[in-house]
């Protein structure tokens, strides 16, 4: 009963001075809106990066040689699946480019040479046709699977499967078209042509590959496989395998001067001058000079990118929260003014029987109204802002967490900054208040 009237009177206090209340609310609203929209941008950036990594497939490990002498025999890919437990799919990878001719048009295209494991490895489906087979790979067949954009471009949306294109003068039969990954996703796979690695090696004129992709059964299997792969390649490079095995996302196998890979001559490990991996795990005894082979667990990269971007989101939110705090101070300011201005009212209410708690409640509720309505307006503006960002090319998402935090902080500010003025109001002695 008393509470309901307290609420009504507090509302009256807000409504009696609409301009001032509006401006105070605006302060809170701007704070809430900036928290929501800035955290929206941060969260959008995070999701974009995560999606980019995820578009490369889950539980994928990339083994890369950075030195021509350390490059791999394509057969190694299959051997790894047999030797390392937990690995499912593998593909040697060759990147090259070629001049493509389609009817009268010609142009340069990126070529990706892989094994028939590619669709499973990269979690990539086809929109039409099918992927090439192990037999195609073995036969170095001139077959091609097109990235989505290329596939869609040829016949204006009709499936080009069964047609032929020319790559560097050789005629290739189109057997399939990959699903769309989206702009910037999957290393731009939508704009590439995928052919058997054997065929691609012939085009590139190479006998070895500098990259192998393997896929583990699970995230845990990927972690274990990383360790095992590390041992295998260290031994292969002639490095000691007693050194501690790193568990991190990226392992770098140190260079052994004068020793090519596979010469089989054991070499003593070189003492490490300093751990140099920028990430978490250092591998003492392994780093020396530049890296010859890197083994990267893409899962870990996703996690790291995710973590870094979370920090950025929090930072943005923190900056925005300052403006929210300023909005809260605005409430306190206006409530203090209200208390001073309305001592007469306070005195009258006290004379008529209002208790201190009644006035405390009334002024506190008034502050809460201001902050609550400011928060509501700010949420609306924040959501609208996220929409605007999206329309103009910035990926922003509405994070429910940001909305929750912003609204709670705004209400908390209202409460926190309302308590002092309300307490002041309640503490004015009735005689003092009536004297004005």
């Amino acid at each position: 009963m008393r509470f309901i009237f307290g609420a009504q009177m507090a509302w009256h206090g807000v409504a009696v001075n609409p301009l001032r209340s509006g401006l105070t609310m605006l302060g809170v609203a701007i704070g809430v809106a900036s928290v929501i929209s800035l955290m929206g941008i941060g969260e959008g950036a995070r999701l974009a990066v995560v999606r980019q990594f995820e578009s490369l497939g889950s539980n994928v490990i990339v083994i890369k040689a950075h030195d021509a002498k350390a490059e791999f025999q394509p057969e190694e890919a299959r051997e790894l699946v047999e030797r390392v437990s937990g690995l499912r799919y593998a593909s040697p990878v060759t990147r090259t480019n070629a001049v493509m001719k389609w009817r009268r048009a010609r142009g340069q295209v990126d070529i990706l040479g892989v094994s028939s494991d590619f669709p499973q490895l990269r979690d990539h489906k086809l929109v039409s046709g099918r992927f090439f087979t192990p037999w195609h790979v073995e036969q170095r067949s001139p077959v091609a699977v097109l990235g989505y954009n290329i596939g869609a471009g040829l016949l204006g949306g009709r499936s080009p499967v069964g047609q032929t294109v020319t790559l560097n003068g050789q005629t290739f039969r189109i057997v399939g078209v990959l699903e769309k990954k989206g702009e910037g996703q999957g290393e731009g796979i939508d704009d590439k042509i995928i052919i058997p690695y054997t065929t691609a090696m012939k085009i590139a004129g190479k006998r070895t590959v500098d990259e192998i992709w393997v896929k583990a059964e699970s995230a845990k299997a990927a972690d274990l496989a990383i360790a095992q792969l590390g041992r295998i390649y260290r031994r292969k490079l002639g490095l000691d395998n007693k050194a501690p095995v790193p568990t991190g996302g990226e392992q770098k196998q140190g260079e052994t001067p004068g020793e090519g890979p596979g010469t089989g001559k054991p070499v003593e490990p070189k003492p490490a001058p300093a751990p140099e991996t920028p990430g978490k795990d250092s591998t003492p005894g392994l780093e020396l000079g530049k890296d010859i082979i890197t083994i990267t667990n893409l899962n870990t990269l996703v996690e790291e990118a995710d973590k870094a971007n979370r920090v950025m989101t929090l930072l943005l939110g923190g900056i925005a929260a300052v403006s929210l705090l300023v909005g809260g101070l605005g409430i306190m300011n206006i409530m203090l003014v209200a208390v001073t201005e309305r001592t007469g009212e306070i005195g009258v209410r006290r004379a008529l029987g209002a208790k201190r708690s009644d006035l405390l409640m009334q002024f506190l509720l008034e502050a809460l109204y201001l902050s609550g309505m400011g928060a509501a307006a700010g949420t609306a503006a924040g959501l609208w802002g996220v929409g605007i960002f999206n329309r103009y090319g910035l990926t922003a998402v509405v994070s429910l967490e940001a909305v929750k935090v912003a609204v709670l902080v705004a209400l908390g500010c209202g409460l926190l900054f309302g308590v002092y003025p309300a307490w002041t109001a309640a503490s004015v002695p009735p005689v003092e208040a009536l004297r004005r």
């Binding site: 008393r2 209410r349 006290r350 029987g353």
Partner: protein, 228 residues
């Protein structure tokens, strides 16, 4: 037993090193149904005395017994309750809330008492009728004349059905003709409803509406005079 009994009441203010004795050693008894006026020059302590009687202020010393209760021992909340149940105030500057209409202002004490809406409205309507403002129920203070505003304040007190009405120079801001209608109203309420009234005034003519005049000088009761 008198409704109000003051024994040796003092009230002083400390202003830096200076101590101001606003009231010294006041003994006063007011019976139920009396109409007492307090007179005295400016600064003689009239308002201070009225505020203590009205439980808006606490004495620095002495005893104050209101309807058998030792007031100076009561908590702040209890004093609020006493003001709310027993005492109606009428001030020189009316002290109406500008944002509320006559109804809203007059129902305030009943809101703090927790009276339900229908009952509140009924009592406020009656009170406004008693002061002749039935046709001004939804007027805000700024839309009323001084005399009308003071009558809203009296209606606000009446709606409380108080034992006691305290009026601090209620006609001070009004012209003498309007002042007299307010005084007539007080006399009527006192005679017909038996409400005890204590009123502070400067004006001898207004003071003569009461039964008894208490004269203050420098915080002391100089003399009491029965109105013949």
């Amino acid at each position: 037993m008198p409704l109000i009994e003051l024994r040796g009441i003092t009230r002083w203010y400390r202003n830096g090193r200076v101590v101001i004795n606003a009231l010294s050693d006041i003994d006063l008894a007011v019976g139920k149904g009396e109409f007492v006026t307090i007179m005295g020059p400016s600064g003689s302590g009239k308002s201070t005395l009225l505020n203590i009687i009205g439980c808006l202020d606490r004495p620095s010393g002495g005893e104050y017994i209101l309807d058998g209760m030792r007031v100076e021992r009561l908590s702040d909340d209890k004093l609020s309750e006493i003001r709310n149940r027993y005492i109606g105030f009428v001030f020189q500057s009316f002290h109406l809330l500008p944002g509320l209409d006559a109804m809203g202002n007059a129902e305030l004490p009943l809101i703090y008492r927790g009276v339900g809406a229908a009952e509140r409205r009924r009592r406020v309507r009656q009170a406004l009728e008693a002061v002749g403002l039935s046709d001004r129920i939804h007027h805000k203070p700024s839309e009323l004349s001084g005399g009308e505003q003071q009558r809203v304040a009296i209606a606000r007190a009446l709606a409380q059905e108080p034992l006691l009405i305290l009026a601090d120079e209620p006609t001070g801001a009004l012209d003498s003709k309007t002042g007299r209608t307010i005084m007539e109203l007080f006399r009527k309420l006192n005679a017909e409803r038996g409400i005890t009234i204590i009123m502070v005034t400067h004006d001898r003519d207004m003071a003569r509406y009461g039964h008894r005049i208490v004269k203050l000088l420098d915080g002391r009761i100089k003399e009491e005079e029965l109105v013949g």
